[in-house]
């Protein structure tokens, strides 16, 4: 390729790529600048409440669930926090699937987590699939002195001393399932929905994670385009330099 052709080619692609990634460069530069001064600007203390952002982050729009255990209400804010009446007692991954008192302990079933709490509300233990808790647990109940778990493959008797899960045929007529909490609890749970801090938003905009895996791919592509941009810029500069040198001779 002649110097002239090389110059035309690199300038043409430099323009195209420059135009294609202008918006991303702008986003990367602005968010990068802000992130460099995150502590001075105290971005982490600026909280943003937005339903659009909550959707982008996949944060569950507050759909709290609650279950009455005896005279007390156990509720989950739809995100992480578990409450017994008004008190935060533990954290577990939504949704709340069931709860029951058994052997003097409060057993709470969440997504792939079985929490055991003392009567005082103190967390005794969390049993996860890494300790053998079956996947796809759907509900929990106590029947005939047995702690039963409903799974996609049938009902299991949970022996939490030995961590054995035996299939059983006796199933409760009705599995207690969490419901929308009563109004006074619902208001309290909605008020405690977590906000997104500006630092997190800047980080996720910078990396593209705000738009999920696709966003990351786009930002990766923008980064690759920036590399190509620097190459085409260099080639264009070098070609024009050589052409000028040649024409002087």
């Amino acid at each position: 390729m002649s110097l002239r052709n090389s110059l035309i080619f690199s300038v043409r692609w430099h323009r195209r790529i420059g135009l294609a990634c202008a918006l991303f460069v702008l986003i990367l530069s602005v968010t990068g600048l802000l992130l460099n001064h995150t502590s001075n600007l105290k971005l982490d203390s600026i909280k943003i409440h937005s339903s659009i952002l909550a959707n982008l982050y996949g944060l569950p729009s507050p759909e709290p669930l609650a279950l009455q255990i005896g005279e007390q209400w156990l509720s989950h804010d739809g995100s992480k926090q578990l409450y017994l009446q008004d008190n935060v007692i533990a954290q577990c991954t939504a949704p709340l699937l069931g709860a029951a008192r058994y052997n003097g302990l409060l057993h709470i079933l969440c997504q792939d987590e079985l929490l055991l709490l003392m009567t005082t509300g103190e967390l005794l233990e969390t049993i996860t699939p890494s300790l053998g808790l079956p996947f796809d647990t759907q509900a929990l109940a106590v029947l005939d002195g047995q702690l039963l778990l409903k799974t996609a493959n049938g009902t299991l008797n949970a022996d939490l001393d030995t961590l054995q899960w035996q299939p059983v045929t006796n199933t409760p007529a009705h599995w207690p399932s969490p419901q929308t909490p009563p109004t006074h609890l619902n208001q309290q749970l909605n008020a405690q929905t977590p906000a997104i801090d500006l630092e997190q938003l800047m980080l996720d905009l910078h990396s593209g994670r705000l738009f999920g895996g696709f966003g990351v791919l786009v930002m990766d592509l923008a980064a690759v385009l920036l590399i190509v941009l620097s190459i085409t810029g260099f080639v264009a500069w070098n070609s024009s330099r050589l052409i000028r040198k040649k024409s002087k001779r």
């Binding site: 052709n5 003392m118 053998g132």
Partner: protein, 184 residues
């Protein structure tokens, strides 16, 4: 001259190459049962529980750099060997780590499940073999330095914390066993 199609293909391939390590990192490599069977072949280990009081939890929090939730931790023992399974968060997701101890030293460290998008290199023997034979110092630190893995700093740190926790709890279990029958 390169066509637009060729340039697009090149960029697509580059993006794929950049993303490939992330796609390979995640996975469940071993269930708890498989880990226990491989640790105690042809035998049923004794299931045990260690109870944590406020003092122990405070000590654990110091080297785990976070408050420890829960009052009891399960482990499995056969003669002078014990196996511990922990879930420790690397950056955002829990890593399931199996630590096997012989007396008061690490026999092996295995990554049972890795859920982070990067840092999965910690599951390879070149990293986990470094823990073999390590013990806990009086300051609750590992007895030897562990070489890090580039790009997996937080995962490396999580594995180190889990190993320290296993060694610490094993020590405490031995103390509890020496002073009174272990509570179960």
């Amino acid at each position: 001259m390169l066509s637009f199609k060729a340039v697009s293909r090149l960029l697509y391939l580059t993006a794929l190459l950049l993303l490939a390590p992330c796609l390979w990192a995640k996975g469940v490599y071993m269930t708890a049962d498989q880990y226990l069977q491989s640790t105690f072949p042809n035998t049923e280990p004794e299931r045990k529980v260690i109870w944590l009081n406020a003092e122990l939890k405070a000590q654990i929090s110091k080297f785990m750099y976070r408050p420890y939730q829960g009052l009891r931790i399960r482990y499995w023992q056969q003669d002078n060997r014990s196996a511990w399974i922990f879930e420790e968060i690397g950056k955002e997701m829990p890593i399931t780590i199996g630590v096997t101890l012989k007396q008061q030293q690490v026999e092996s460290v295995k990554i049972l499940a890795f859920r982070e998008s990067r840092g999965g290199e910690v599951r390879y023997p070149f990293f986990t073999d470094q823990f073999q034979g390590l013990s806990l110092t009086s300051k609750n630190k590992l007895s030897q330095h562990i070489d890090g893995v580039t790009g997996a700093t937080l995962s490396v740190s999580a594995v180190k914390r889990a190993t320290k926790l296993a060694l610490f709890l094993n020590q405490e279990a031995l103390k509890q066993h020496a002073s009174k029958p272990l509570q179960e």
